[in-house]
Amino acid sequence: MSTKPTVAMRGISKSFGSIRALNEVDFEAWRGEIQAIVGENGAGKTTLMNILYGVISPDQGSVLIDDKPVHFHSSSAAVANGIGMVSQHYGIIPGLTCLQNLILGSEPGFWLQSDQLQDRAEDLSSKMGFQFQWQDNAEKLSPAMAQKLEILKLLWKNSKVMILDEPTALLSPADGDALFTSLKDLANEGATIILVTHKISEVLDHCQHVTVLRGGQKIHAGETAGLTQSSLIQWIVGESLSEKPTKDCQDDKSEVLLQLNGIKVRRDRGDFALDGVDFTVRSGEVVGIAGVDGNGQKELLEAIAGLRPIEAGSLEIFGRSGMNYPTADRLQNGLRIIAEDRLKEAIIEQWNLEQNFLLGFSQMPDLNSRGWINRKVAKHEAESAAHKFSTQYANLNQTLGSLSGGNQQRFVNGRAFALNPKLVLAFQPARGLDFKATAQVYEQFRTLAKQSKASVLVISYDLDELLENCDRVVVAFDRQLILPPKEDELNRSALGKLMVSGLK
């Protein structure tokens, strides 16, 4: 470790209206290291990084790069100074090719020489161990691939300080490990890497320094060597977490809520995403679907929801055939969807909380009285949906877009519990949530399954999250759902092997 930090932020304060997001926070990052910033939702991590990246300016405090004070008034100034950031919401433009997306904003000249550009792109990606079809439309990139492309964009801009906001949220364990290997290589070559994360294991396994924020204040900063998981959690949460509820054994005789028999479903681009999938979900269970991104999880969810046609095989949901069973009716009978892409599929940002609550419920008899919306019930239910996971909001007329990503997710999760759900399809329900909120979500899933005889199908790229919280885990691999042997339903190494090879 060199003695002087590459990045030093001193006494940073920032308020938004009456909310103090940061209160005299210090932060340092060194060349050649990966340093972590951890904290709960709303602890101020993103605000701090946005200040470093020049997106917002601090009310107080100074930023020093290589000991020189800097004042970035825009992110382009920060980029010019070698600072790069990948945010939680990827900036990939569909319709452009991968290569065009890569060079976007830092085109090397007036004319683009495609061959040369592609050579350099190949160099960068092979160095990182990534593979891209550079001339393909970026629209088709999975979130994991989009994340990789975002990292390459930083390299393309010669960023020396890289800020990564939850880079592994959508990656499989193997991809995540590969990413950290590459990040370590980058650090060894002299980059300064700042990792914003919720995953304690990443901090302890891969980072040299950690800064803990809580409620806009710095709680701890120091080396990770010698730290334990529990001490880190204590700093982040300010209390120790309660024990998880124990898991129950599943009763084979309980009612079948969902039955898939050899279903075949196509992807948008026409090839099969699912090719002969058999799967049963019974009431009262929380089932995890693990798997690397792009193994048909999205298509599976859409097929179950009635949003994507089933080419062959049969689907039975709530005891009724999936044929001529529109999504609206399934929702009415208790299906709930927590969509993968929150901003694109789950919410309408410019709408207020009450209106957003109504998405998915507009045909419910409780809310639809002869074609008119029952506002009283809507208000009441929207409020309970928000309170379910303590969404931080001022009032129901506030636009949902004005809430932080984590709070939006809390609201979306809360909405799935409204009006007697029977089968919840949850795609990455913990995305952007800190582990306290994550634990809460799964606890509620379990309670729902146990008390209301409902079931929950969770799709996640985070195997550990599923192992900790589900009754059983199946693996999506190569157009199939692979059911592990009974004794391996919660066996990490067996499932990990299935995820990458499909072999039991």
Partner: protein
């Protein structure tokens, strides 16, 4: 929310521009303003005329507004207006009495709906953009109007292409010297009805959701294809109604250039109103005032083009304000 100050700013900018333009003419700002007021509101005849301009425009603007809520840009209001007027004009020459007039009006609305249906259907099921299809349908409507009015449905013994006078016309509301048609009352009622429908009805909610985020709407179980077709048809019906009211209340017969661009001006009115339906009323009335006053302004040396330029600037700035918000959503 944020839109009201933006509209105020827009008004101020337009006034400043008006000052600028006026510097090139013999007119002083004060006399231009007084011309505008006198020309449009200076007497019962002027007021009546202003309402006459504003009424079909307001109805057509509601048609644009409804489509915009579903994210559809109905450029075809012009064509739907013409087809609606054509149907009403034709039926009106055959049927008499209050019932006949009602049938003629509904016939106009139905034909407007029919005329917009292909655009909605192609958009929903074939992915063809509604701007392209409605522009094409506008041209077709124009040719049909000329073709029929100069031949099959032409008034016997007439030189110009027009139908005979309709048998039953819409009366005026008895109001002293003013001559304001019952059509105006219908027109003023429509935006309020639309606003209420969007904020309270389930179908209105689903239309809004489809316009705001079609992916989220689909996930919420909304049949977005059906919403698109339905909204386009409703928009076309309202546009047809605008044409029908023009015939029964004012023109009393059909001729091919009956709309004189009402359907396009309605785009401007709707863009100015943004997401507030009630703003359609003052916006359409302001357009009506400018039209009504423009002959007087011309006589006093303000070229007609300047009024149009002013309207254009208002529309562009209004649209910019509106789409600035949409842009952020991607």
């Amino acid at each position: 929310m944020k839109r009201i100050p933006a509209i105020v700013l827009l008004a101020v900018v337009c006034l400043l521009l008006l000052y600028g333009f006026l510097a090139f003419t013999q007119l002083s700002v004060a006399s231009a303003m007084s011309d505008l007021i006198h020309g449009s509101l200076g007497g019962s005849s002027q007021i009546s005329q202003t309402f006459q301009h504003a009424t079909p425009l307001l109805v057509a603007a509601v048609a644009v507004f409804v489509a915009l809520r579903a994210g559809l840009f109905n450029i075809g209001v012009e064509g739907q207006f013409v087809i609606g007027a054509l149907a009403t004009g034709f039926i009106g020459t055959k049927l008499s009495g209050g019932l006949g007039m009602t049938v003629a009006i509904f016939g106009g609305a139905a034909m407007g709906a029919l005329w917009s249906f292909p655009a909605g259907w192609i958009k929903a099921y074939k992915g063809g953009h509604e701007v392209i299809t409605t522009i094409m349908l506008n041209s077709v409507a124009g040719y049909i109007a000329v073709g029929l009015a100069s031949g099959p449905i032409k008034q016997a013994g007439q030189e110009s292409p027009q139908t005979a006078k309709i048998l039953a016309t819409m009366p005026s509301i008895p109001m002293g010297g003013l001559s304001i048609s019952w059509a105006t009352l219908i027109a003023f009622f429509l935006p309020l009805l639309a606003g209420f429908w969007f904020s309270r009805s389930v179908k209105g909610f689903e239309t809004d959701a489809t316009g705001a985020n079609i992916h989220a709407a689909r996930q919420a179980g909304i049949n977005t294809k059906r919403v698109i077709v339905r909204t386009m048809v409703v928009s076309g019906a309202i546009a047809g109604l605008a044409g029908a009211l023009q015939v029964v209340a004012y023109s009393h017969r059909f001729y091919p250039d009956i709309s004189s661009g009402t359907g396009f001006d309605a785009l401007g009115v709707a863009l100015l109103a943004g997401s507030y339906s009630w703003v359609l009323i003052p916006a359409a009335f302001a357009f009506g005032m400018l039209y009504q006053a423009s002959p007087l302004l011309q006589i006093d040396g303000l070229p007609k083009g300047i009024v149009d330029i002013l309207l254009a600037i208002m529309i562009i700035v209004g649209a910019a304000i509106r789409f600035r918000r949409l842009k952020a959503l991607g």
